[in-house]
């Protein structure tokens, strides 16, 4: 399919023009902004992976022999704070790790790529240097805000969308207001008529991420709402708190529509743009097939947006949506591999360079990981495979082959290609870059092979039955213990990857130190684009009819059949953008509208009532502590699950869950039916020190919940917020009622704990609210009246 560049088809041959040549304009590129983004790519890459190492260590540290002494010292005790310090717990740091990896590391890499390539592909400096700087500093401020708020427990409780509403607003302003405006104005003022395919990928990224971000983060800031309605200001924690406007099934659907497409349009399309620009640069030859790149682009834009529901197989999501997500995910395999093949075959005739050029090494392995991850993704979306893999560490291995292999290596390949050009001096050490490559590659392989093994082990242990028909591993902790060695290997692999980044930092620093005193800023010249006159659109700019003796309509039809209309689009950024939005928007609406409007998707269950004010406060603690990072609340209708956890989860059980807390993995057991299984005292002691209750537990201790007082006055704001979103709270919304109700229920739980042999006087502590929530989980349907719900349940089974 690739066009041969021959003397017969010189790619630079000018078309005969009907207009006089336009005057040349002089311009230079803004490489300073690229240097800034590239530096922060490295810095945040190091922070994100270090955070990953810390949370990986937290899953093995609890089983260290803390009392082991050496020369009178207990060295492992130094690591103890990682298991019981409130702002360092796994539940709070894991979102920090994921957000840093996605939005800080990959984000800055994307921006470096976009700012470098867009200017050159458009033969135009970025439209506004001021907007470029506002974008840079604004984005770094967002990352710092995330790094501060996530450890403090300010979170929306939705994966990769944890950041609270003030930061979400900042993201929207910086992303679209600064970055988007600057990008689209640069495209508008470009001096190259054709928009190269990398720019299409960037356009799709900018518009789709905007849509995803805005709609998934529609929420009610409860502190602000309380202030506006009562004039009463609340604590910072309540001010930052928001509830999503969606609940339960619909919130889950929106979240994974967002979550999957964040992978698609933040971690895939911009990196493909990067690949289509920097791979030809590094290989010094055009992309293997430009035609294939166009098909790659449109098929990804058309198909990716549908794939989200594959994250929710066998959950309370309607089956048709889940099946649709699976089908489109499987379809994604082909365009993804088309892109991988296109990237790798760009090296045709240049494979010998790979052994000596670290840039090509990173790109080749990066693109190979893209191929692996995009084969594995569709495979995991097949329901039967997913029934084994979901909630296990298999997903974590899959994600890391993509993030460390594809995103990481493409970013580092680009970095090593850019360093000599941006700092106008040879790379300090190619050998060090190669060492980085090998450390990183071996690190990834260690990481993913150990975690694949761990994930499959978990999945098989959870579903195993013995010869008597009972669960072979009835205690969840057995699967936790079984994969501890794998977690250690993962930690070593992660450390190797981090070590590679440190080497990259040294190379960056030393190359920077060799820079010239003043950077050479070449001045380029190109003619401004002449406006496309109506008649010229067909003749001069986009080709001409092959017909000579036909009427005008015949010639126009011939040009249409030649595809002139698409070439016009490719040159008209606004229309191109609009069509991309339409492709993404139509797909989303076709899926979302039925999910939201078909009543039978979420059959109501009469016995399901709103949480009490205390339980609601406890639920907010559950969200703030990030419990969803380790515990699911979704029992799938699979025999091994109902046997282990109880009755499978129904859509109607979640109608008051703003946000939903189904989770996506089980480092610990599912909690959907936890209510009533244990005593209040058991929960109290478990939060105090889980390892004392369950030998081998790797759950952090929560001493701060046992000591910190619950803010009863803030409960009213929480209840009012939920009522505003349509949760029927009745009298609880009357001033003072919520706090009084919460105190009353807390007193009862405090008495229970004391009577069961626990300490006195814990009724006002935060742990009491959390225990109230735990004891409520999944109990409503057990209170169902005998007659009515039976019909509901029968209907649900058929969904």
């Amino acid at each position: 399919m690739s066009p041969a560049i021959t003397a017969d088809h010189p790619h630079t041959a000018p078309r005969p023009s009907v207009r006089p040549p336009a005057a040349l304009e002089s311009f230079s590129y803004d490489d300073d902004i690229v240097r800034k983004f590239l530096l922060m790519t490295l810095v945040w890459g190091l922070v994100a992976t270090l955070a990953g190492v810390v949370i990986a260590a937290q899953l093995v540290i609890p089983n260290l022999p803390f009392d082991w002494a050496f020369l009178g010292m207990k060295p492992f005790m130094l690591l103890k704070p990682l298991t019981d310090t409130s702002w360092l717990t796994f539940g709070r740091l894991r979102p920090l790790h994921t957000n840093a990896a996605i939005f800080a590391f990959a984000g800055n890499a994307i921006f470096a790529a976009v700012y470098y390539s867009t200017q050159r592909l458009c033969k135009s400096r970025m439209w506004s240097d001021t907007l470029s700087r506002l974008h840079f500093w604004g984005w770094q401020a967002i990352i710092v805000a995330a790094a501060v708020t996530l450890p403090l427990g300010y979170t929306q409780g939705k994966e990769y969308a944890e950041l609270e509403w003030p930061i979400d607003i900042m993201i929207a302003v910086v992303w679209l207001g600064f970055f988007g405006t600057n990008f689209f104005m640069t495209i508008k003022n470009r001096r190259e008529r054709h928009m190269y395919v990398a720019l299409w990928f960037y356009i799709a990224t900018i518009v789709t991420v905007t849509v995803l971000h805005v709609f998934n983060n529609l929420s009610l800031p409860i502190g602000l709402y309380h202030f506006l309605t009562t004039g009463e200001s609340m604590s910072t924690e309540v001010f930052m708190k928001s509830y999503p406007v969606y609940a339960g099934v619909q919130d889950a659907f929106m979240q994974w529509w967002y979550g999957h497409n964040a992978v698609a349009f933040f971690l895939t399309t911009p990196f493909l743009g990067l690949m289509y620009y920097f791979m030809p640069k590094a290989a010094e030859r055009p992309v293997y097939s430009y035609r294939l790149s166009i098909i790659h682009f449109w098929s990804l834009v058309f198909i990716y947006i549908w794939a989200g529901p594959h994250h929710l197989h066998y959950t309370a999501l309607p089956q048709w949506a889940s099946t649709l997500g699976m089908l489109f995910s499987v379809m994604l395999w082909m365009p993804s591999w088309g892109g991988m093949i296109n990237g790798l075959l760009t090296l045709r005739g240049a494979w010998h360079k790979v052994s000596s050029d670290p840039v090509l090494k990173f790109f080749v392995v990066g693109i190979t990981f893209y191929g692996m991850a995009t084969f594995e993704g569709p495979m995991l979306s097949i329901k039967s495979v997913n029934s084994l893999s979901h909630y296990t560490d298999w997903t974590i291995a899959h994600v890391h082959s993509g993030a460390l292999g594809w995103n990481g290596f493409m970013a580092f390949g680009m970095m090593y290609w850019l360093l000599p050009r941006l700092f106008q001096t040879p790379l300090w050490s190619r050998k060090l870059a190669s060492t980085h490559f090998w450390l990183g590659t071996i690190g990834i392989l260690l990481y993913i092979s150990a975690i694949y093994w761990a994930g499959i082990t978990q999945g098989l242990m959870w579903r195993a039955f013995d010869q008597t028909g009972r669960l072979a591993y009835p205690d969840f902790i057995e699967s936790v213990n079984a994969i501890q060695p794998h977690y250690w290997v993962r930690l070593i692999g992660g450390l190797m990857y981090v070590a590679g980044i440190v080497l990259a930092g040294v190379n960056f620093l030393m190359t920077w130190r060799s820079r010239p005193a003043n950077y050479d800023v070449p001045v380029h010249q190109a003619a401004a684009l002449a406006p496309l006159a109506r008649e010229a659109r067909y003749a001069d700019e986009v080709g001409s009819s092959r017909l000579t003796g036909n009427i005008e309509a015949g010639r126009k039809l011939d040009m249409f059949l030649q595809g002139t209309w698409h070439r016009r689009w490719e040159r008209l950024p606004l229309r191109f953008t609009v069509w991309t939005i339409i492709a993404v928007g139509v797909a989303s609406l076709f899926e979302i509208i039925p999910t939201f409007l078909i009543r039978s998707n979420v059959p109501t269950i009469t016995s399901v009532k709103p949480y009490t004010p205390l339980e609601l406060a406890g639920r907010d603690i559950y969200v703030a502590e990030g419990c969803y990072n380790c515990h699911s609340q979704m029992i799938r209708p699979i025999f091994a699950e109902t046997k282990r956890y109880g009755e499978y989860s129904k859509p109607g059980e979640f109608v008051y869950d703003h946000p939903f807390q189904w989770g996506s993995r089980r480092i610990g057991p599912d909690l959907a039916r936890e209510g009533g299984k244990q005593s209040d005292l058991w929960h109290y002691l478990h939060f105090k020190d889980p390892a004392q209750i369950t030998k081998g537990s790797i759950m952090p201790a929560y001493p701060h919940l046992l000591e910190d007082e619950l803010d009863f006055e803030a409960v009213q704001a929480r209840v009012d917020g939920m009522a505003m979103l349509g949760v029927p709270y009745g009298d609880a919304v009357k001033e003072g009622h919520a706090a009084a109700s919460a105190r009353e229920q807390a007193a009862r739980i405090g008495e229970n704990i004391a009577q069961q042999g626990g300490p006195e006087g814990v009724a006002t502590r935060q742990v009491t609210a959390l225990i109230a929530y735990m004891q409520r989980l999944g109990t409503d349907i057990k209170n169902a009246p005998a007659a009515a719900p039976a019909a509901d349940t029968a209907k649900e089974v058929g969904k």
Binding site: M1, P3, A4, I5, H9, H11, T12, A13, Y29, S117, R120, L121, K123, E192, H194, Y196, V197, Y276, Y277, P280, K281, E284, R285, P286, V287, Y290, R291, I294, I295, W298, S299, F302, I303, W320, A321, L324, L327, P420, R421, Q424, T425, P426, L427, P522, G543, L561, Q562, G563, H566, R567, A583, V586, A587, F590, E591, I593, P594, L597, I598, R599
Partner: protein
């Protein structure tokens, strides 16, 4: 009867099926179009990243 009741009783399950057909048709159209684009245009577009700056400092 509320608006949500009316919308709730519409049979919207046909939407995703329509969309599937629609998207496949558009995909086929794009593929067909791309295969018909002239070699010269494709080659010129593909070469855009190659010649866009001066000599590198390597």
């Amino acid at each position: 009867m509320r608006l949500s009741d009316i919308l709730g009783h519409l049979d919207l399950t046909v939407w995703p099926k329509m969309a599937l057909v629609l998207f496949l048709a558009v995909f086929a159209g794009v593929t067909w179009r791309v295969l018909r684009t002239s070699r010269a245009d494709i080659a010129r577009a593909a070469s855009l990243p190659i010649d866009d700056e001066g000599a590198p400092h390597v």
